[in-house]
């Protein structure tokens, strides 16, 4: 009899825990459209729309991230105390291929005055400083990572956007959000992840994520396949096309001198 009561108490306890957990995870609902981007002949980047709803007193943080990669780079140093030249080799690991962050205001305001290492701080670009691994170990680690982040920002692979998020108040304790995600043209084909976080007073209260696929199609796909899979044929064809174009231009323009 006592055993039966004990089992019932355990079951009730589990149900209560499950109920409290579902209450703690406040609803963040989102829809990504489109979730596949095709790189066609006239592709010049793309725009993806993310919209949904979250608790009215929360802010939305959205990240587009790529898989981690290894980078082997050269670090410039002074030669003969005068000339800046590439000298040492530096390896970086756990570098995300892309890191596009969208917030509705300055990222620091989301921390709500709290210090580094909080879950929200981990979402930001500066948190990558802790994550990226530099070899060989260098006393200049922080400067090297900051330079890497600056380089990636210049290339358009990393960005922090504080515009592009719009809220629409709705009745009850929810509000709607609409985020326009700009996908840069340089972002290579591959698998990416769109993550959304509902943030309140420096805490993450709810999360959502969805894959985003970028792939080549039509003429760029054919050309890329030829260049990488049949490279000798591609090289000969590229030369022949240039020679024929040169001959044609020569005839058309009556034999210009042509630049070289």
């Amino acid at each position: 009899m006592i055993k039966k009561y004990a089992v019932m108490i355990v079951i009730c306890g589990c149900l209560a825990l499950a109920a409290s957990a579902s209450m703690a995870e406040e609803p963040l609902q989102a829809l990504l459209f489109p979730d596949r981007i095709g790189i066609g002949t006239f592709y010049n980047g793309s725009v993806v729309s993310l919209n949904g709803s979250l608790p009215a007193d929360c802010e939305i943080v959205v990240r587009v991230t790529g898989s981690d990669m290894h980078l082997k780079m050269k670090k410039k140093g002074k030669v003969l105390g005068l000339l800046w030249l590439n000298r040492d080799t530096v390896n970086f690991d756990a570098v995300p291929e892309a890191f596009l962050l969208y917030t509705s205001g300055k990222f620091d305001t989301l921390l709500d005055g709290r210090q580094k290492q909080t879950p929200v701080w981990q979402l930001g670009l500066t948190a990558l400083e802790d994550r990226i691994v530099v070899t060989p170990v260098s006393p200049e680690r922080s400067t090297l990572i900051q330079d890497l982040l600056k380089l990636k920002e210049n290339e358009g692979f990393y960005a922090v956007n504080t515009t592009g998020i719009h809220y629409t108040p709705v009745s009850g304790d929810q509000k709607k959000f609409d985020v326009t995600l700009g996908i840069p043209p340089k972002l290579p084909p591959g698998a990416y992840r769109v993550e959304a976080y509902a943030v309140r007073h420096g805490d993450i209260v709810s999360t959502w994520q969805h894959p985003l696929t970028v792939k080549l199609e039509s003429f760029p796909k054919v050309l890329s396949s030829l260049a990488f899979n049949r490279s000798a044929l591609y090289g000969i064809l590229a030369t022949l096309v240039a020679v024929i174009a040169g001959l044609f231009i020569g005839v058309f323009f009556g034999g210009g001198k042509g630049g070289h």
């Binding site: 790189i39 066609g40 006239f42 592709y43 010049n44 980047g45 082997k72 780079m73 050269k74 670090k75 410039k76 140093g77 030669v79 005068l82 000339l83 800046w84 030249l85 590439n86 000298r87 080799t89 530096v90 400067t143 090297l144 330079d147 890497l148 600056k150 380089l151 210049n154 043209p185 340089k186 290579p188 080549l216 760029p220 796909k221 050309l223 890329s224 260049a227 990488f228 490279s231 000798a232 591609y234 090289g235 064809l237 590229a238 030369t239 096309v241 240039a242 020679v243 174009a245 040169g246 001959l247 231009i249 020569g250 323009f253 034999g255 210009g256 001198k257 042509g258 630049g259 070289h260």
Partner: protein
């Protein structure tokens, strides 16, 4: 419906504005048409500036030069401005020199000194050629310097005496010079080594070499240089496409179209300018590029990191 001005280049991995690339080709073509020398050392940095990776920029430029030098070589051949004998000897030397240069870079890369050699070679070569051409043209324009003709003057220069003493002398009818076949071979090797080290077609080194060291007349220099460069760039295009997958022939075609049209205007401008005026303008251009490179070496860079394989 708006006209799509952007084109995606899968090899470069970026989208470019067709008009911008066409305009860049036109600008470089204009300069090539005016001066009759290469645009490689201008085109590659311009392409890098619009977001094309350095290796793709250099390789696609070689592909573009194949087309440009094909039409140019044929046009000059029709006018009798190509010294095929001289061109072939320079080409053989160039291929040998290029192979040696690639090996030098490989060894230095392993030792970590390749970038130092490349940068210093660029600055020195551009500096020497630019200052020499500038000085000579300036003197000619001021009429204080008689045209250099050491063979015709009373006492030949030391250089002319050495050249005359070399074995296997041969007459190069088209160029109107008598030289040892060793001269174009050795100079071809020299230019080939420098081209491989500097990663350019070599036109801007080859032209002064032909004018000042082989004493060839200017009209034959341009045609023969184009002839030699055509074959060098065919080789480079195929090798780069096969080994590094860095040739973007769509990019090359747009550049080619732009440079050809630009070259037409350049040629008509060059006809209105005197040879010394042309030389002084070219010398200024070479010196501007040299100063820019020197400043890049001397000034503290914004970002200390760069990708391996980049310029």
């Amino acid at each position: 419906m708006s006209i799509p001005w952007h084109l995606y280049l899968p090899i470069a991995g970026n989208s470019v504005n067709i008009l911008l690339v066409f305009g860049m080709g036109g600008l470089v073509g204009l300069l090539s048409g005016i001066f009759g020398v290469g645009g490689g050392f201008l085109m590659t940095p311009l392409l890098i500036m619009i977001g094309i990776p350095p290796t793709v920029a250099a390789a696609s430029d070689s592909n573009q030069i194949v087309g440009a030098s094909t039409s140019g070589t044929i046009a000059h051949f029709r006018m009798g401005n190509v010294d095929i004998k001289m061109g072939l000897l320079l080409l053989v030397g160039g291929v040998l020199g290029g192979t040696v240069g690639v090996q030098i870079i490989k060894v230095l890369n392993r030792m970590g000194n390749a970038d130092f050699l490349i940068s210093i070679t660029y600055v020195l070569m551009l500096g020497i050629i630019g200052i020499y051409m500038f000085q000579e043209s300036l003197q000619a324009l001021r009429h204080v310097h008689k045209q250099a003709a050491p063979v015709a003057s009373g006492k030949p220069s030391a250089y002319a005496m050495i050249v005359q003493k070399l074995p296997w002398q041969m007459m190069f009818e088209k160029s109107g010079v008598r030289l040892s076949i060793l001269m174009p071979l050795i100079l071809g090797v020299f230019v080939g080594v420098l081209s491989a080290i500097m990663g350019v077609g070599g036109g801007f080194i080859m032209v002064p070499v032909m004018v000042y060291l082989l004493r060839m007349p200017m009209h034959v220099v341009v045609g023969t240089s184009l002839f030699q460069i055509l074959f060098t760039c065919v080789n480079v295009t195929i090798m780069q496409a096969y080994t590094n997958h860095t040739v973007d022939f769509v990019l090359a075609l747009i550049l080619l179209l732009g440079s050809t049209i630009g070259a037409q205007f350049g040629v008509s401008i060059s006809k209105r300018l005197k040879a010394d005026q042309l030389k002084i303008l070219l010398a200024s251009l070479v010196l501007v590029v040299m100063v820019k490179m020197l400043l890049d070496l001397l000034l503290t860079p914004n970002i200390l990191l760069s990708y391996i394989g980049g310029h």
